[in-house]
Symmetry: C2
Subunit: 295 residues, 2 copies
């Protein structure tokens, strides 16, 4: 089986061909430019590859309402050329196969539930903590949409008592993304995040903030696994700090063994590593194909 996968990020696009076992056989990657430059490259890659379906996991916000005539469009983004762009339609007109279409983070959550850290589980939350913060949600075996899609990066957080940084979110200042995404770390400590030493106080503060996101997810959704990915989470020392902060924050309220006894297996890095996004797009493509066959 040959399925196409597109991981459409704000800074780079990755396209790949994979199979039903989640392995990626071939891939290319290029920087994200305007759609009229970038989409032809995507289409070129897939043109003669004989894929049976394509899955797209993309930066957003996007329209994922199948009943809308804007379904498949990128909605309001400051990215030049992308606001209102008919991403899915442009792909469909060039290559006529079934398509899966969702956010990059929902794709990653789905991929992790197929082949990664949440394998065989019907619920998980996938957070990416990088240039921004976003979350994908799988609940009762389904990716969660609704009015739009979750935007869990912008929840309100309690300020760390030692934090004097005002936050950089243009909407909220010191929301989660405003104080805990990569750029916040760099603005606060005036140093590249990846250059901060492992025992720098930045990481304790970061764990304090990320734990609030995790606690919200536990209380609002009760997922069976919480996966933390993205550039900032390359700092592996964050995991034990986050485990501690989550326990402290919940203070015994959630009695599930996963939280009380096995939190190190409950809040984990992506099982698919840096492939979470691309494998997720592959999983979306597979799902689109089987949905198409059921019809």
């Amino acid at each position: 089986m040959r399925i196409g996968a597109v991981e459409a990020g704000g800074t780079k696009f990755v396209c790949g061909i994979g199979n039903e076992f989640g392995s990626i056989e071939e891939r290319i990657s290029f920087p994200t430019e305007q759609p009229d430059v970038t989409l032809p490259k995507v289409i070129d890659f897939f043109k003669d590859k004989q894929v049976e379906a394509i899955g797209i996991g993309t930066f957003g916000p996007i329209n994922i309402d199948r009943s809308s005539d804007q379904y498949g469009h990128v909605t309001t983004t400051p990215k030049p050329g992308w606001s209102g762009f008919d991403f899915l339609g442009t792909m469909k007109r060039a290559i006529d196969v079934p398509y899966g279409w969702d956010t990059d983070v929902n794709a990653a959550a789905y991929g992790e539930s197929m082949w990664g850290a949440a394998q065989n589980l019907d619920s998980c939350v996938y957070y990416t903590i990088g240039t921004g913060i976003g979350a994908g949600v799988l609940a009762e075996g389904r990716l969660v949409h609704g009015l739009v899609h979750p935007e869990a990066g912008h929840i309100m957080v309690r300020k760390h008592p030692d934090d004097t940084f005002e936050g950089f979110c243009p909407y909220h200042g010191d929301c989660l993304e405003g104080v805990a995404a990569g750029p916040a770390i760099e603005k606060r400590w005036k140093q590249k995040a990846y250059e901060l030493p492992e025992d720098h106080p930045a990481w304790q503060m970061e764990a304090y903030y990320i734990s609030q996101a995790v606690i919200s997810a536990i209380l609002m959704l009760s997922p069976k696994k919480i996966i933390l990915g993205g550039g900032v989470m390359k700092q592996q020392q964050l995991f034990p700090l986050i485990h501690e902060e989550v326990k402290k924050g919940l203070n015994g309220y959630v009695g599930a063994d996963a939280v009380v006894k096995h939190i190190d297996q409950y809040i984990v890095p992506p099982g698919l590593g840096d492939n979470a996004g691309l494998c997720g797009a592959l999983a979306l493509g597979l799902a689109a194909l089987s949905e198409h066959r059921d019809k």
Copy 2:
């Protein structure tokens, strides 16, 4: 069609008989005592009523994991006699019909989606703000469970700048429930909540806290409707205050028309009024029956 419904609350039980159109034809109500006093009353009520199925929406926490041998039990509650009690099994042994089983708030969310404020929608969040705070979640047409079930009443909130009350949650002090449930209002203002005048500053502060719950729901789940019920929400003047606070908090970040233009139709009281819980239990019973027939 005759379906049984049990709304099992911490202070009172309501049992009813209803039909597939959501109307309740007969009901009784009695105070919640120990299970060996209360369950016989429930069983007596249904015994000769010839119901085809029974739905139970109950106070929790409860075990809702079908693969567990504790499925249908009440788990850890301080309520005398109820901790570990096999609620569902006791019912089944007495009256052998298909059963629906979920939390009171999930039941209410489901009932509202069948016949109430979220009719024809595949997602909604139902908050009850009363003696405690809890939430039921419907996403992608399904009630959300997971590790356990959502416990959204205990999210961390930002303290109102004028609030000196330390909160009464035994686990977290000033979590949402700790500062915004009925008993918090009464402890803070040293007056019964229902006696506070409509223009008392208590309500502005209450709206500030409830809006944080609503914002969390919007960002984490993006539901198509948010329903606010429970004793405290009898204060109808809270709704416009909450609408304002939610808009202020989101600050334009979520561009959906429901939030921007029609927030008064987005964050609403239960369409079923005080029947949300009992109708929800009825809806659970109906779903159990149709699931049973599909088998």
